[in-house]
């Protein structure tokens, strides 16, 4: 950047010339970047341009610019619809439940694995807990449906054997969030712990040696050395997680839900899919989706700002 600073004193023309020279020097790098740039422009930025149909009565024949401009009509229609409150409540509810249970799980797991001295035991635990990450969502949801099925599922057989009553888990709205969150922990906690384990291996061992000399117990060492050392990692992961609070795993929800439990399981993205791609209401569902994207963006910026103020840790 010092070359850049020197240029500032020179005239505009020479700055332009030096920039041009740098561009020429990087021409092969630009050539290499071109496919990636095209990818981002076509598949990421063009859809953002296309999102303007949220403000128009989109008609494929007239195209994006030819369709009539209707302003916030579809947004208002969404805000006034009977589903608006339910969708927001479910989206945030599922996310918060997931953060409450799913966020601490990998941290606790990593701390426990880190406390183990036997390498072989450590390695076996890691191999086992990472495994479910690689099973597809379709299979995981299929497993849950089989295990929880009212007649033949092993969970219900167990309930009945213990003198309880068989529960039709996938038909009762109050069970949806719990099944969603805990199956997510089962599948993802192990994999999620890797990030924290990586941070834990970076701790200076002399800190522990000094603490041992001072007579700190293992519990105290955990509390005063290990935990504070991974706080920055925890903060980054928390910003990311809180930032996607409006961004729930709708692919999994779409596999799990059915009209009987829409009450607790329908979220913004699944609604967009049903109204837009199944119902063909492109403008309305784009408006709903755009509302979701904007809220998402605002939330992540806000959490990044808060975190920068409070803990000096930020994404950018």
């Amino acid at each position: 950047m010092s070359a850049h600073a020197a240029n500032r004193t020179a005239g505009k023309a020479s700055r332009f010339r030096s920039a041009a020279k740098k561009i020429v020097r990087s021409k092969y790098l630009y050539l290499m970047l071109l496919p990636a740039l095209l990818y981002y422009l076509i598949f990421c930025y063009y859809p953002m341009y296309g999102a303007q149909i949220a403000f128009r009565d989109f008609n494929p024949i007239q195209g994006y610019l030819g369709s009539e401009w209707v302003g916030f009509k579809y947004f208002l229609q969404f805000f006034r619809s009977e589903y608006f409150f339910r969708l927001i409540r479910n989206t945030i509810g599922i996310s918060l439940y997931d953060i409450l249970v799913g966020f601490p799980a990998p941290i606790l797991l990593a701390l426990m694995i880190n406390e183990m001295k036997s390498k072989a035991f450590k390695k076996s635990v890691q191999t086992i807990v990472y495994l479910p990450h690689f099973i597809s969502t379709v299979v995981v949801v299929g497993m849950m449906m089989s295990f929880l099925s009212p007649g033949t599922g092993i969970i219900n057989q167990l309930l009945v054997a213990c003198g309880g009553e068989s529960i039709h888990f996938f038909a009762q709205p109050q069970w949806f969030k719990t099944i969603y969150v805990f199956s997510g922990v089962w599948q993802g906690a192990g994999w999620g712990s890797i990030v924290y384990l990586a941070a834990l291996t970076g701790i200076d061992p002399t800190l522990y040696e000094a603490a041992i000399v001072d007579g700190a117990s293992r519990w105290k060492r955990l509390l005063h050395i290990t935990l504070p050392s991974i706080i920055p990692t925890i903060m980054i992961m928390l910003i990311l997680r809180m930032g996607s609070i409006f961004n729930v795993g709708y692919e999994k929800i779409m596999l799990m839900y059915n009209p009987a439990i829409y009450e607790t399981s329908d979220v913004i993205s699944t609604y967009v899919y049903r109204r837009g791609l199944q119902g063909g209401e492109f403008s309305f569902s784009t408006a709903v989706g755009l509302f979701n994207s904007v809220i998402n963006f605002i939330v992540i910026i806000t959490f990044n700002k808060i975190s920068r103020k409070v803990s000096d840790v930020a994404l950018w």
């Binding site: 099973i135 497993m143 449906m145 791609l277």
Partner: protein
């Protein structure tokens, strides 16, 4: 430094070992149950007699799964989509990651910002669908491999790898030898980057193998369905009657067994590779974690 542990610390140790063991059992048991269920007699399965090991061992369920005329073609489709898609992913990700890793590239911060912005904001499902439709990619392999050609997160991980492991002097001396940047990448950087390429190939291919939603959006021709779409019908929508044959009560009895066998068939390839590839997966997450 070896210090004798106090009774309290030994208890601490024992409690953690106990908890971790219970966690491992909770993770493994459902998987074992699926495998045992798939090899068990469906009547024993329905009566709840299967607990850990197969009861009345039989391969009948697998015979029924293989009778499904759509499983094998969709398996083939998935292999094709996975291999082709991963190659596309690698090409595009490298094209973004390498130039952005070079400190001497003019304007790289601008490009990085433009690319990273897409991680936090998107046009949404419907505009993307309309784009794929307008490009006439519906019902083609392109719809499954191009829209997600770059995972920006993976791209950043790869860029970090290039920045931290390729010495700048190596690039400079190659420049003095008259190599252009593409030659430098091809002859010098690429041979040094096999570990990251392996990691990325693994991340992307697992993603393709397990993906179903883009097929739901973009593929309506059944002969082009990937495996996960067929699985969805069997496992989630319970379409097992065609495989089971016979009358309705028979179908109900074997239905669960067929599902378990299908899960095993669909997950087997990944589970076979997993132990050998585990260290690469972990390495990839580690590189990402360094950047934070």
């Amino acid at each position: 430094m070896k210090i004798k542990e106090s009774p309290g610390e030994r208890l601490f140790n024992l409690v953690i070992i106990l908890i971790l063991t219970i966690i491992c059992i909770l993770v493994v048991y459902p998987l074992l149950y699926v495998i045992s269920g798939s090899f068990s007699d469906p009547i024993a399965l329905m009566r709840g007699e299967v607990q850990l090991f197969p009861v009345d061992f039989t391969l009948e369920m697998y015979r029924m799964v293989f009778r499904n005329p759509e499983i094998w073609p969709s398996y083939g489709n998935t292999i094709y989509y996975t291999v082709f898609g991963t190659l596309i992913n690698l090409f595009f990700t490298i094209c973004a990651a390498y130039p952005l890793s070079r400190p001497d590239m003019f304007g790289r911060n601008v490009f990085t910002a433009v690319f990273v912005f897409t991680m936090f904001f998107s046009g949404g499902m419907i505009p993307s669908y309309l784009l794929v439709r307008d490009l006439h990619m519906l019902n083609t392999v392109w719809a499954l491999v191009l829209p997600g050609a770059i995972s920006t997160y993976n791209m950043i991980v790869m860029r970090t790898f290039f920045q931290t492991t390729i010495p700048g002097e190596l690039v400079e001396s190659a420049q003095l030898d008259g190599y252009n940047d593409i030659q430098i990448f091809w002859r010098i950087v690429l041979p040094l980057s096999k570990p990251i390429l392996a990691v990325m190939a693994l991340f992307y291919s697992v993603g393709h193998w397990n993906s179903w939603f883009s097929a739901l959006l973009y593929i309506s021709d059944r002969s082009k369905y990937p495996l996960q779409m067929i699985l969805r019908e069997i496992l989630i929508q319970s379409n097992t009657s065609e495989m089971a044959g016979g009358n309705i009560s028979d179908q109900e009895i074997v239905g669960e067994g067929i599902k378990y066998a299908t899960m095993v068939v669909a997950t087997l390839p990944i589970m076979c590779f997993y132990p050998f590839l585990q260290k690469y997966f972990v390495k990839g997450v580690m590189i990402g974690a360094i950047k934070g």
